[in-house]
Every structure is written in C-alpha cells, then in structure tokens.
C-alpha cells in the first residue's frame, strides 16, 4: 500500500491542483450512467494523485474533478461548459453522457478552445463534424454489434437469418445501421428489421411479426428500459432464437434481477466488463505502455464507494481521465491545443483497454468492444476470444427450457 495523504516529497517541485471539468447527468434520464461515470472519474483522479500526479516541468499537478449536474438537458450543458471554461478556468473537460449532450457541448468547447473528451457519446457523427478539440475515449457506435456478429459467425456458420429490432433513436440507429451492413458482408440474410419509438411500453405488435419471420439471431435494443422490455416480451411470446444481443440493458446487474433466469443466454455489447483481461502484463505483451489502476484496484475502489460492481460507464469515464493525464504529461503543457496534438500519437492501455485516436477526427480506434452474456446468473465475457473468460453459450436455451429451470451452465 502507498501512503495516500502525505504529498510526495519530490524535493524542489511545486504541487498544484488541476481541475478537470465535468458536466454530468446526476438527474434526468441519464442519471444512472452519470453517477457511475462520475465515480469512475474520481477513482482515476485519485489513482493519479496517489501515484505522483501529473508532472509538467517541475510542477506536480493533483487532479480534481469539478462536476456539475446537467440534468440530462442540452441547454444546461452549454452554460455549464462555459462556466467551467471561464469561471473555473478548466482547460480539460470530460464530456457529458450521451451523444446528444456531447454534441451540444462541442460548439461551446470549440468556442473557448478547451478539450472535450467524450466517454459517453458514441455516435460517430460527433467526430465527423470537424471539431478539433473533441476526442473520443469509447468505441464509436458503428462498432457496438459487430463483435457479436463475428461471434455468431464463428460459432455457427449456418445461422443466417438475422433480425434487427431496435429503438428509433440516433444512437441505436447508428449502431444497427452499421451492424446491418456488416452483417451483409458476413453473409447474413436480413429477414426482419423494424424499429420502435422511444418510451414504448408494449412491443408485442413488432414481436408478433418477428415471430412470423422466423429468424435465427436477433440484435436490437437501445437503452435500459426498452432493452429489458424487449427481452421480457421475447420471453412472454416465446420467440425462440439461437442468439440474442441487446444494447446496453444486459450489461447492468438489474437486468438479471428483472428477468430472472429468462436472462440466461442473452448477450450484449459492452465497452468494458468486470473480468476483462486488460492488465500490465497484457500491455507488455503488446508492447504498449500501461497506465492507471489495475482491474482489481479499480474494482475494489468502485465497490467501496458505490457498493456494487462498476458498469462500463465507470471504466470509460476513468479511461478518459487517464488519457488526459497521459497526454498532458506527454505534451508537458497545459495548453489544450498542445495536449490535443500530443494525443494524436498517444497510445496506452488501461483497465479499459487500448486508447488510441484517429488524429484526423479524434475518433477512438484503439479500443475494442467486448460481448457479454448471462450464464448461470453471471455476466460472462464471451468475445473477443482474447478477452473472454467464458465460452459463448450457443444456441441459448429455449424459453420453455428456461421455464423448466435451464440455465446456460446446465
């Protein structure tokens, strides 16, 4: 254990506080994600501070997160970004959660020329607008469902009939439109594709139709509520599939609680998952630098603070903080322009995986998604093979089998 409180007696150097700003959703529809993200940021900041801070010249900077609640609303984001940039004089901003809010933040960040690091805005188009000060830490939407399709292809080349049922929103549409094209390349046949509006409380019209299309594999979902609903109603209408991947919802523990053993076998893409194998050793093997807490440190810190396992929102937010620290040190400057430049060829691994951006757009290209699947009441990583801690359960048990108590382990 390190000594946490006494500042490192680094001799001549001054110790100063450096604020990272964070407009984050603590109320409104993204409150849950926001809360997890904020905790992730704090853990990363604490680790940095306890491990020598950020050294620029002979000044050692300790990180502090300056967070405001944006209530999941776009017009709040803008005034908060400005406050951070001007009143709090923050130069490095952790973007708000979600693509929409990140997009609202971008023009103001550009105006004040402060960096905006997206850890919760996956939509590709944020990075297609030509913003210079906006970079991305998480994988873009276009990559969410591709891994799952690879996995199905690898397990069962005969599974051809693919159905897409997803929420009609910018994020899930981006995810599934990319997935559809990718699936066609892999040789899938799209037998059904429909969307449902956000806030739907009954998906039975779509699912009755889906049943008739008789697909092998289903990808879909959007956010939490509808993802849970989709799974629930698939079960109620007894629509059996060989594999199901749903966005966002399955990555939360409450998913299993809500569905009981009906959740068995349901998969979903995750930016990160407890149990991923990113470690200093793995980094060494790949020949890239490791930075930040280890998985165990991160896990226990989060659990201690929040009393539960971290969802991926915590890890991606932590990675964003780490990437700032790393880039600042690399640039040896607090000038956002210089730091942004330093990011262009920054590459490191953290709990969250590899961090590397496309210099042109700022889009994340280093990080890879993982596929999780509920097996025997546990969330297992089943893809990619390099990160997996379990075999995919394929085909998943039928609903009738599950009703009889079957799980993916049995």
């Amino acid at each position: 254990q390190q000594q946490p409180t006494t500042p490192a007696p680094s001799g001549e150097g001054k110790v100063e506080t450096l604020y990272f700003g964070a407009p984050i959703s603590l109320s409104g529809k993204f409150a849950e994600e926001g809360k997890a993200s904020l905790e992730g940021m704090k853990i990363a900041a604490k680790w940095i501070n306890e491990n020598g801070g950020i050294k620029v010249g002979d000044v050692t900077y300790k990180i502090e997160i300056k967070a405001y609640d944006d209530e999941s609303k776009k017009e709040n984001v803008q005034s908060l970004i400005e406050r951070l940039a001007t009143v709090d004089k923050v130069k490095f901003i952790l973007a708000p959660y979600s693509s929409g809010l990140t997009l609202a933040a971008a023009p103001i960040a550009e105006k004040y020329q402060v960096l905006l690091n997206s850890h919760g805005g996956a939509s590709d188009y944020i990075f297609e607008q030509g913003y210079y000060y906006v970079v991305q830490t998480l994988s873009p939407a276009s990559r969410y469902q591709t891994g799952f399709l690879d996995m199905v292809k690898a397990k069962d080349p005969n599974a051809k009939r693919l159905a897409l049922v997803y929420e009609d929103g910018e994020f899930s549409r981006a995810v599934h439109e990319a997935a559809r094209e990718y699936a066609k390349q892999l040789g899938f046949e799209i037998v059904y594709e429909k969307t449902y509006p956000a806030g739907a409380t009954d998906l039975s019209p779509i699912l009755n139709e889906l049943k008739a299309a008789n697909p092998d594999v289903l990808i879909g979902g959007g956010h939490f509520a509808d993802g849970q609903l989709l799974a629930k109603q698939l079960a109620e209408l007894k629509i059996d599939l060989k594999a199901i991947s749903i966005l966002v919802a399955p990555t939360f523990t409450s998913f299993y609680e809500a569905l009981g053993n009906k959740a068995e076998g349901i998969a979903g893409p995750a930016q990160w998952e407890v149990g991923v194998k990113y470690s200093p050793e793995a980094a060494e093997k790949l020949g890239i630098e490791w930075y930040g807490p280890t998985q165990e440190e991160f896990l226990s810190a989060y659990k201690e603070a929040m009393g539960e396992e971290p969802p991926y929102q915590a890890a991606e937010a932590a990675a964003a903080v780490l990437s700032y620290a790393k880039a600042i040190e690399k640039a040896q400057s607090l000038d956002p322009a210089k730091v942004r430049e330093a990011m262009n060829d920054l590459e490191f691994m953290s709990i969250y995986g590899v961090w590397k951006i496309d210099p042109e757009t700022g889009k994340q290209i280093g990080h890879e998604m993982v596929i999780i699947q509920w097996q025997n009441g546990e969330k297992k990583i089943v893809w990619p093979e390099s990160a997996a801690n379990a075999e995919p359960c394929y085909p998943m048990p039928t609903w009738d089998e599950k009703e009889g108590g079957a799980t993916c382990g049995s």
Partner: protein, 327 residues
C-alpha cells in the same frame, strides 16, 4: 391612457442582463439560458396569458421552427450562407405559420382543457410523423456543424453558433416583449382579455372571438418558431425529434408564465429570471440535488403569489408612482 412605460422596465432588465453577461466571466451562457426561458415564456404568454387557453403543444412550434432552420442550412448549402439563413428564418416562420393556422383552425373550436390537450396530441403527432415517416432524417435528425464548417469554414460556423445565435435569440425575446406591450395596449389586447374572461359575452360584445384567438395563437407560434430556429438549431447546431418535441419545455414555459404572472408584460421576464437563475445556482451549489431543492421553492413562490410575482406587484403598485412601470 395607453401605457408603454413598462417597456422601459423591460429594456432596462435586458440591458442589465446583457451587461452582466458581457462583463462577468462565465455569465454569458447562463444569461443566455435565462433569456431563452424568458423568450419561451414571453412567446407563450401572448397566447396563454391573454386568452387563457393553454397551448400544451407549444413546444411543437419551437420544434418546427428548429426544423425549418435546419432544413435550410442542412439541405440548401449551395445557396450560400446569407440566402440559406434567410431561407431558414422564412421556413421557420412559414412552418410555424402553417402549423398554427391548421392547429388553430381545428383546435381553437375547443374550449379550455380540451384545447390544451388536443395540442399535446398535435405535438406528439408531428413528432411521430417525423419519426415514423422518416421525414428530415427521422430519428437520425439533422446535424449541422460539419455541414456548416465544410460549407462556410470553421470561423463562420463558430460565429453562427455563438454570436449570431445569441444575438438572434435576444432580438426575438425583446421583439416578443414589444409585441406583448403593443397587444396589451391595442384593441386586440382588450378583445383577448374579454374572450379570456367570458367567451360568449365577448361575442355579444362584438368581438370576433375565433379570429382574435387565432391571431394571438399564430403570433405566439411564429415567435416560438423563431426561438426554435435560433436557440436550438443555430446554437446547438443539431436537431433531433426526441429533443425538440420534448413536452417539458411547454411545461417549463407555463411555469415561467405563472411564476411571473399570466397576461402581464414583465411576468415572463421575472418568471424566467426566477426559474433559470434558481436552477442555475442550485446546480452549482448542490449538483444533483438542485431539483429537489428547486421544487419546494417553486411551490412556496406560487403559494405566496398565486397570481404570479408581477401580478402581485402590479396590484401592490396600484395607486403608487411605480404603477406606470409594472404591467
């Protein structure tokens, strides 16, 4: 007789706000947030405050205004900046006009709460038409910053989304105030008050009730369209249906009007100031808890001033020398 002096108060408040925004670091966006809320309240007030009809679908008009501008800027870049912007404003006004004429034509035959909720239906209808019919990009919305940057360069795009959008919104907000004042002092205003209080009696008094309601409705809606075009499309540089048709903006606008006092000129200004500033500073002081604190404060304000703060002040000022300035 006619009394335009409250305009002095109004302009003074704007001058102070703009001075604070420009003079104090970090206050510009909060001030713009306040002005956004004021504008939204002011435009709604022209209809709600004066006719007593609640337009729950109000946000739909901000929405179509936002789309008008977005369609012009996003789909007609070939025109060049100034023509595209002009087209944007024209489209925003035109769409708001068309929607309000049609909705007004149908829904204004309804009384009271029926009208209010019919308009919710309109808002939802337009939203789902865009989503379900995949119109204007459907749920993928229209994202402008890249298009603008490519077409006119980064500097222009930044100017548009900051300086120009803000200036535009301020103009619309002040314009709404001036129109309100004008209406309050005109035959139209008296006609509206009469029909607000007793529609049947107003008819017998010689007031063309349908037409007057429609006029107020259309004016209010066009102003809303302009707010959508500036405060949303230009400032945020994107439009998504789920965002621009979110009903909570309507509710917030009503709250602002009621906090200040319905049918008064300064009501929305005071209401907007109270609402936005409370929210902003509570956010700073108690992140994540601000709404929990804001809610009881709002209740206290409304319990103390059921007719709104300005409504109360106007009564209190009656017979004093401030009377002229409060309305």
């Amino acid at each position: 007789m006619r009394n335009y002096t409250p305009l002095v108060t109004l302009l003074l408040i704007y001058a102070v706000m703009i001075a604070i925004g420009q003079g104090i670091q970090g206050m510009w966006q909060p001030i713009m947030l306040v002005i956004f809320y004021i504008a939204v309240g002011q435009a709604l007030n022209i209809f709600l405050g004066m006719t007593g009809y609640v337009n729950f679908g109000y946000v739909a008009l901000l929405g179509v205004g936002a789309y008008g501008m977005a369609v012009a800027l996003g789909y007609y870049t070939d025109l060049g900046l100034i023509p595209a912007l002009t087209l944007g404003f024209i489209l925003a006004i035109l769409l708001a006009f068309i929607v309000s004429m049609v909705v007004g034509g149908i829904a204004l035959r309804l009384r009271g709460a029926y009208f209010a909720i019919a308009t919710i239906g309109v808002n939802e209808g337009i939203k789902y038409l865009i989503l379900g019919g995949k119109i204007w990009g459907g749920s993928s919305g229209i994202v402008l910053s890249g298009i603008l940057r490519k077409a006119y360069g980064a500097e222009t795009m930044r100017f548009l989304s900051t300086v120009f959008a803000d200036a535009g919104l301020i103009v619309v907000a002040i314009l709404s105030g001036i129109i309100t004042m004008y209406i309050l002092n005109s035959r139209l205003g008296y006609g509206l008050i009469a029909l607000r209080e007793d529609e049947d009696a107003a008819k017998v008094m010689g007031i063309n009730v349908r037409r007057y309601k429609q006029i107020a409705f259309v004016i209010s809606c066009i102003l809303a369209g302009l707010i959508g075009a500036t405060a949303w499309t230009l400032k945020l540089t994107y439009v998504f249906p789920q965002d621009v048709f979110a009903i909570n903006y309507t509710v917030e606008a009503i709250v602002i009007v009621m906090l200040g006092g319905a049918g008064t000129l300064l009501g929305p200004v005071v209401g907007g100031l109270i609402y936005a500033l409370l929210k902003y500073y509570l956010t700073i002081a108690f992140p994540g808890m601000q709404l929990l604190i804001l809610a009881p404060l709002l209740i206290i304000v409304i319990l103390l001033f059921p007719e709104g703060v300005v409504g109360y002040l106007a009564k209190a000022a009656r017979g004093t020398r401030f009377e002229k300035f409060v309305r």
